[in-house]
Amino acid sequence: MKYKKSRCDFAINGGKEVFSPDCVKTTMNLPAPSFNNYIKKLLFCERESINSIDLLERSLAKFHDTKYAICFSSCFTGMAITMRALAISGKKEVILPSLTYRRMTDIILWSGLTPKYCDNNFTNLGVTSLEISKVINKDTALILAPHPMVHLSDIDSIEELSINTGIPIMFDSVEASGGSYKGRMLGSFGKAESFSLHPSKLMNACEGGYITTNDKNLYLALIKMRAGKSIEYNNSTRQGHLSKMNNYHAIMALCSLDMVQNIIEGNKIKYELYFKLLEDFQGISLVCYDRKEKRNYKTILIKVDEKLHLNRDILHDILNKENIFARKFYYPAQHVTHGKFLTKNYKEYEVACSLQEQYLLLPTGYSTSCKDIEIICSTIRQAIKLYSA
């Protein structure tokens, strides 16, 4: 292990990096089957004339314990088309928390709707009915509630709000895939839930995404919209665009689904190691998964105490120079990057502004071994010690 004994030893000050440039450590999960398993699955589908997308959809519905799963070319297009289907006719605004996946505003715009940001919740880092209800107005077409990394948004209160107001709700469950809430698998909450099959997520299809729902009418609508057709849904015409999943991607996803429990177990081993190594860190705390529920353990999120001399941004820069590609949590908030959709001023997003300065994602997944995690934690420990002095 290459210990840093002084500030000069850090790469940011000209020292040697702890990981070489061809061996960078990233936060991406990157799970993959072996080449042989992929070809085996491909030959199986070919020999048995199996429609791989159909098989994948049935398998995903079973995994999430839902009636239907509909695969798309990407999670982006799947979400955009589903939002277009679900939005209340004649209304345009989609409510979402400001601090969330950086592409969420683009997805809403791609669907032809307009984002309306609410503040985040300080405890779950996502959103509850309290923040959402503050921005509901007569033009609200849909509530988009993303589950943040590690935690879940407040499903019960948001579903209740949806029932009381009649505004449909869609959960973005990309980061929470494989998880459960009160013992029930995520996938059947709200009107629909979205999941990604990008390599950086729990399951890897190379590219792709899917929507789960128990609503038969929505399922039929999405099948047609995915084929580029227009449909009559909730008293108005909704137009889709061609966005079917690639068959080879579906085969890759099937392989990933076969090994998903192993992926989660591997993630958990790395999470537990971080948990142990970061336990006594002054000023750093690991955001912990709810052990009573199923979780995917694919994200390592730490909170950097604002009182530390070494703030989150400096720690981020130090680690990046060491080829430890830590990432700022959802930074920057979308009310900052998409300012033209602001209604009043930044004060409405006090919590989002605070959260976006405190959290950091650490490497895990395919690129990061347990030995690497020890080096990463040691580097963080030394950085805090030497920079806080």
Partner: protein, 312 residues
């Protein structure tokens, strides 16, 4: 319900898969060795270079599918809901193009006006006959294209084309700035990168798609070209009007039929609708005293379908 779903699931019927193909396995093993699966890596870069060699167009930007390629291109051109786009008279549109136009809630105008964005469905190779930027959606690739900087050509690479892919597309454009924006929009960095695009997208073309396309280029493409050229000559010999085959320099050949009397056009249009021929993208062009009917010869245009056309 089942019939209804099956109708739309038809889009999912897998084409010939490449499980046994040594060429495919060679490319896919590279993907697994690299452990990089998503956007624009080793194989996608090789493919784009190969496409540039074929088309002789400066930039060939691969995209996830043709719908996203078209919608992204329209966004980059600044098209907004309610805008009009020009589509040449006589151009019969594919379903997926109509879907994109409706998705963006655009108006279709059939008279050319330089002030509005044009879409040209070029059966033949795209050419530089328009003064402002326009989108061309050719049904085949000409091996020696020579187009001007105004043309944005979107090539579908799915199984209805010589590329015989499950899904995929590429956009050929000489304009470097436009290509730069396309790349940013494809990989989702439009807003956060150095290129500002009003609306961003996601058109990532995976390494697995690149493996499929490269296999297709090495195997199916040449076979299809040869097979379709033979078919075109055979069809031409059966036709009672004068028919020519243009083929050698295209990824799939084209049959051009000259009709000597204009009344035939009306009859043929009605019959074509009955047979739902728009999927075959047959187009008409009035050339002085003749009417040219251009018939693209795709794998799905079989003898029976062609007999229907002849009977018109």
């Amino acid at each position: 319900m089942n019939t209804e779903i099956e109708k739309y699931n038809a889009y999912h019927l897998p084409k010939k898969l490449y499980g046994e193909s040594e060429t495919y396995q060679k490319y896919v093993s590279t993907v697994f060795d690299n452990h990089y699966f998503s956007n624009h890596w080793e194989l996608a870069k090789i493919l784009e270079s190969e496409l540039i060699n074929i088309t002789k167009i400066k930039n060939c930007v691969t995209y996830m599918n043709s719908s996203i390629a078209l919608i992204s291109s329209l966004h980059i051109l600044g098209v907004k809901t309610g805008d009009s786009i020009n589509i040449g008279r006589g151009v019969i549109l594919f379903d997926w193009i109509i879907g994109c136009i409706k998705y963006l809630d655009l108006n279709i105008c059939r008279e050319f006006d330089s002030d509005i964005v044009s879409i040209v469905l070029d059966i033949d190779a795209p050419c530089g006959k328009y003064d402002s930027q326009y989108i061309s959606i050719p049904t085949r690739v000409h091996y020696e294209n020579n187009i001007n900087n105004n043309c944005i050509s979107i090539y579908n690479m799915d199984r209805e084309t010589c590329f015989n892919m499950d899904t995929g597309a590429f956009i050929a454009v000489n304009d470097d700035t436009f290509a730069h924006k396309l790349r940013h929009m494809r990989s989702s960095y439009g807003r956060t990168g150095e290129v500002a695009i009003k609306i961003n997208g996601n058109g990532r073309f995976s390494e697995m798609q690149a493996a499929e396309a490269l296999t297709s280029l090495e195997t199916d493409c040449q076979n299809n070209l040869s097979h379709n050229f033979t078919k075109a000559v055979s069809f031409a010999s059966k036709f009672k009007y004068k028919a020519n085959v243009i083929g050698e320099n295209y990824t799939s050949p084209i049959l051009i039929i000259k009709c000597p009397d204009h009344n035939s056009l009306v009859k043929i249009q009605i019959k074509l609708d009955l047979f739902n021929f728009e999927h075959e993208s047959i187009s008409f062009e009035i050339d002085k005293n003749d009417i040219l009917i251009r018939v693209p010869l795709k794998p799905s245009l079989n003898d029976n379908l062609f007999s229907c056309l002849l009977s018109c």
